[in-house]
């Protein structure tokens, strides 16, 4: 069984993509009651959609990069992330595939049958936007607090050493929906995403469905 080669890249792959550091599901390092309370404050619906403003502060780059766009999360399908400014671009995260498009041109595809971590990545991203905290708790230790009658804030740090080499920290804030996500990469690039006009719905629009299906 000559799979020593394998073990090596495994960790690499974990590092390359914000790979899944699926650690022990036992809730050791956090307070499950807090998580339950936050989960109760979150609205549960099939579809969540809204606008976002994203500010990236890249390590070693002074100029902050600001982008605007809209997003849709559908429970069974995944995430559609549409940047409008400064240039239009679409990212679609579904079970089994991550696809990035510039208008109609495909910039990148990553498929689970080629890169097995894709499934786990899409799960983390989906959980992040949909506010599925239990899934995040599998990958991260967390702490946080409830704010006022409806608000909450949670900070996550990766449990797994492999994941820690990619993500330094992740924090979420919100009320009945997630309002802000801050992702700090291990290398020091920071993304802050603020969500606006977030609404929930039972079904996708025809246009959205088409984009998921195409």
């Amino acid at each position: 069984m000559k799979n020593t080669a394998k073990q090596m890249f495994l960790l690499l792959a974990g590092l390359i993509l914000c790979g899944p550091g699926l650690a022990a599901t036992a809730q050791t390092a956090a307070d499950p009651a807090l998580l339950r309370s936050v989960q109760l404050r979150l609205a549960i619906d099939t579809v969540i959609r809204g606008d976002f403003t994203q500010t990236r502060q890249l390590a070693g780059v002074k100029k902050p990069l600001v982008a605007d766009g809209s997003f849709v999360v559908e429970k069974t399908r995944g995430v559609l992330w549409r940047t409008l400014k400064p240039f239009p671009q679409t990212m679609r995260v579904t079970q089994g595939e991550i696809l990035q498009k510039d208008g109609s041109r495909v910039l990148m595809t990553l498929r689970a049958d080629q890169e097995p971590t894709v499934n786990a990545i899409s799960r983390v991203l989906f959980s992040m936007f949909a506010g599925d905290l239990s899934a995040l708790a599998e990958y991260f230790d967390y702490q946080g607090q409830l704010k006022g009658d409806t608000g909450w804030q949670l900070s996550f740090t990766p449990r797994d050493a492999g994941l820690r080499t990619v993500i330094a920290a992740l924090s979420l804030e919100g009320d009945s929906v997630v309002r802000q996500v801050t992702l700090t990469s291990a290398a020091g690039d920071i993304s802050r995403i603020t969500f606006n006009h977030v609404v929930t719905a039972a079904v996708l629009s025809a246009d959205e469905r088409a984009q998921f299906d195409e």
Partner: protein, 788 residues
């Protein structure tokens, strides 16, 4: 030993003195062999060698390839892989945790920790300008500045570009993509504390272990067996929906050793019991039994001690095959004893015995020649396993024969009355048909010949080395599923790449992988393991840097857009990562089996490329076509099968030569056509094999050589004794014993031994039945006296 007491009644001539000296000498030799055996047995602890590699020939023409295969085998020998197949990840992980706990006390250690990510990154990061995938190289070749800028900006704005490398250090993502392609080396990924592989419907937790001792240590096998059984029970109890799959050399070794021990005792005790019973019923004499058992013990002692001295370890196949030897070694004692079965009280004692001995000496000497020749030819084969079996057999037969020849004058019973069974057998010869060349017999002969011819026409050949392998089908299935899930490459087929320098070897490897591209694309191969995936040649790294020169304008524009300094805009340059530097990193240790390094023989450097998904022989043939001065396709399985085929052809000619030559020689001695005896039995064996669909392979041909020898013995003995019914009795007893012990061999689970057993049983039965058919018409003289 009561030989000395009997020595008083020897004839006082010089011959007897010499004989007595030899007999004492033989006793001394046996004492020495006993001492040698004890020296081996005492520290032995029941360890039996089941290593298949020990059976395979070493390719001396190609030391590089042998070294490569040996490295791979050593690397694999101690590895144990467990897969836990579960319906979901969480269950698989919980089960994995439990299994780890259960196996904590097992003779296993976790495989050395994989290289940690930070170390690897640190290793590659300074050289990142040289790491660009083929796809990105093509992209670089045909994009314009706008597209290039677009790609960098798109990465800069992408919020989830999870990478341990900053955008600033890898603005186009080339390095990230290069790191990503390293992931193609395996489908397993770490999830928390567990490696996982996911397929469409199963989630596998992967547990990689290393044995603390050799896979062939019986201590370890016993302990591991118990631990794995406990694990299985544990899982069945707590995780009924989790399936345990195991793969490792040790599992096959343990199963084979257990099987060999069982078969050895079955065949050994079966043969021995039957031997004692038959001897008793035919001769009804304790002294006869003593002589037989003494010759067997001496044979076993000689075989065990000499083989151990010569080979230093005993292979399971040798012991199983050796156990069946009882049936052959006992023949000489039986042949001798039968001559004394006359019911007469030997008048005058010793002198009469010596007369008989002199009378028996020529046929007994001739009888030894045939099997010895057959087994000695086995000794010439380049298969170490077969050589060991031959050594065991030759020394065993020689030991038994010498015992009979040297001690028989002192140990043979003075008085042996005929027994009912002996009389009955001797009577049988009277009624046995005899070839008289009548018209009716010719008619039958032609009919039989036609049937035989048809059978022989259906004979197929098969030289698959796998016939030597005794694989538990359940274990094999598990192994295949593990190999498929983890996409393990074949360990017996590989490309060997050589070059005058490490750099040259890497370049040749890259050239080969490029040539293999169509086979990967068409799905004939699914992947590869090669060092150049992890360490591109310097030439390639330089080419990658060169290709990025076209980005100068794009980088300048990006620097302006992002408000970065002019330094950043310059395309980064670095010296390439060298093989020496890469190999010196502890992080690359787990990959070094792919790099053979400098050969002691010719100072050249070599590496190996392992392939995944190679299934059909067609593709293997196409791969062999890639051979050139620097690249060599090594296919151990095919090579050994080819070798077996070559030796089968060679031995077939030896067999045919024996068919022709031996009768010619015998003709000089006997004038009568004794040789005709053997022909029908051999042709009959071939025909039955043809009808039964048994392939003709190296081992059958060897067996036929043995059968030929024994068939000759039967005919010869019967002819030499001029159709004496006592000779017939001897043949009957000898054949019955051979049949039984080889018949038991046919029960073996090792295909090769089964083949030997079946072929011998068929051949000996036919030889036994046809021998009296061609006996001389001399008066069956002893019959009247024996019934007294």
């Amino acid at each position: 030993m009561n030989a000395p007491s009997l020595m008083n009644d020897l004839p006082p001539d010089g011959y007897a003195r010499r004989h007595r000296a030899l007999a004492w000498g033989w006793l001394g030799v046996l004492a020495l062999l006993t001492a040698a055996l004890l020296a081996h047995v005492l520290p032995w602890r029941g360890q039996i060698d089941t290593d298949l590699l020990a059976l395979l020939p070493v390719d001396e023409r190609n030391p590089h390839a042998e070294a490569a295969l040996k490295t791979l085998a050593q690397q694999g020998e101690r590895s144990l892989v467990l897969l836990l197949a579960a319906p979901d990840t969480a269950t698989a992980q919980r089960a994995a945790r439990q299994v780890r706990e259960t196996l904590r006390e097992a003779p296993l250690s976790a495989q050395p920790a994989p290289a940690d990510v930070e170390t690897l990154l640190k290793l590659y990061f300074p050289y990142r300008a040289g790491f660009v995938t083929d796809q990105d190289r093509r992209w670089l070749a045909d994009t314009d500045q706008t597209t290039q800028i677009q790609r960098a900006l798109s990465l800069a704005y992408q919020p989830f570009a999870g990478s341990a490398v900053n955008w600033r250090d890898d603005p186009f993502g080339f390095f990230g993509n290069w790191l990503l392609q390293l992931g193609k080396a395996s489908p397993a990924r770490p999830y928390g504390d567990t490696l996982m592989v996911q397929t469409a419907d199963r989630h596998y937790a992967v547990l990689l272990y290393q044995l603390t001792q050799s896979a062939f240590s019986s201590d370890l096998q016993t302990r591991l067996d118990a631990d794995l059984a406990a694990t299985r029970n544990d899982l069945a109890q707590h995780f009924p929906d989790v399936q345990l799959l195991r793969a490792g050399v040790v599992l096959h070794a343990a199963a084979a050793a257990q099987q060999a021990r069982f078969e050895m005792s079955l065949i050994g005790s079966g043969s021995l019991l039957f031997c004692v019973l038959l001897t008793w019923y035919v001769f009804r004499s304790f002294k006869a039994l003593r002589l037989i058992l003494l010759s067997l013990a001496a044979g076993a002692l000689t075989a065990l001690s000499l083989t151990w001295l010569m080979f230093d370890r005993l292979h399971a196949l040798t012991l199983v095959f050796g156990a069946s030897l009882i049936g052959v070694a006992v023949d000489y004692g039986v042949l001798v004893l039968a001559q004394h079965l006359n019911g007469e009280k030997t008048p005058g004692g010793a002198p009469e015995r010596w007369t008989r001995f002199r009378h028996l000496l020529p046929p007994l000497a001739l009888v030894l020649i045939a099997p010895m020749l057959a087994y000695l030819s086995l000794l010439l084969m380049p298969f170490p396993g077969l050589r060991q079996m031959a050594c065991f057999t030759v020394s065993g037969i020689a030991g038994a024969w010498l015992t009979i020849m040297l001690w028989y004058p002192y140990l043979v019973p003075a008085h042996m009355p005929g027994t009912p069974l002996a009389r009955c057998l001797m009577q049988a010869l009277r009624h046995w048909p005899r070839w008289r060349a009548t018209r009716r017999q010719w008619f039958v002969a032609v009919a039989v010949a036609t049937v035989l011819g048809l059978g022989i026409a259906q004979l197929k050949t098969g030289d698959d080395i796998r016939s030597l392998v005794n694989s538990d089908p359940g274990l094999l299935r598990e192994h295949l599923e593990v190999a498929k899930t983890l996409e393990l490459p074949s360990p017996a087929q590989l490309f060997l790449i050589t070059g005058d320098t490490p750099e040259e070897a890497l370049q040749h490897e890259e050239a080969l992988l490029l040539k293999l591209e169509p086979l990967f694309a068409s799905g004939h191969l699914t992947g590869f393991d090669a060092i150049s995936r992890w360490l591109p040649s310097q030439q390639r790294q330089q080419a990658a840097q060169q290709a990025q020169q076209t980005l100068a304008a794009a980088r300048a524009a990006l620097a302006k857009e992002m408000d970065l300094s002019g330094d950043w805009a310059a395309t980064p340059q670095s010296a390439p990562l060298t093989a020496d530097e890469w190999l010196a990193q502890p992080a690359t240790e787990s990959l070094r089996y792919l790099w053979l390094g400098r050969s002691a023989q010719d100072g050249r450097f070599s590496s190996i490329v392992l392939l995944k998904g190679l299934r059909d022989a067609d593709t293997a043939h196409r791969l062999a076509a890639f051979n050139d001065a620097h690249i060599q396709w090594v296919d151990k399985t095919a090579e050994v099968s080819l070798l077996m085929g070559r030796y089968r052809v060679l031995l077939s000619s030896v067999l045919i030569a024996a068919y022709v030559l031996v009768p010619l020689v015998l003709l000089a001695f006997f004038r009568r056509q004794t040789w005709r005896v053997v022909m029908p039995s051999l042709l009959g064996t071939l025909a039955i094999m043809g009808y039964a669909g048994l392939p003709l392979q190296l081992l059958n041909v060897l067996t036929l050589l043995l059968v030929f020898g024994m068939g000759i013995d039967y005919g010869l003995f019967l002819t030499a004794q001029r159709g004496d019914v006592r000779a017939f009795l001897a043949i009957c007893v000898a054949a019955a014993l051979t049949l039984l012990s080889f018949g038991l061999l046919a029960l073996s689970s090792t295909p090769a031994l089964r083949t030997i057993g079946l072929t011998t049983v068929l051949g000996i039965s036919l030889a036994w039945l046809t021998t009296p058919l061609f006996r001389l018409s001399a008066p069956e003289r002893a019959i009247s006296s024996s019934s007294a």
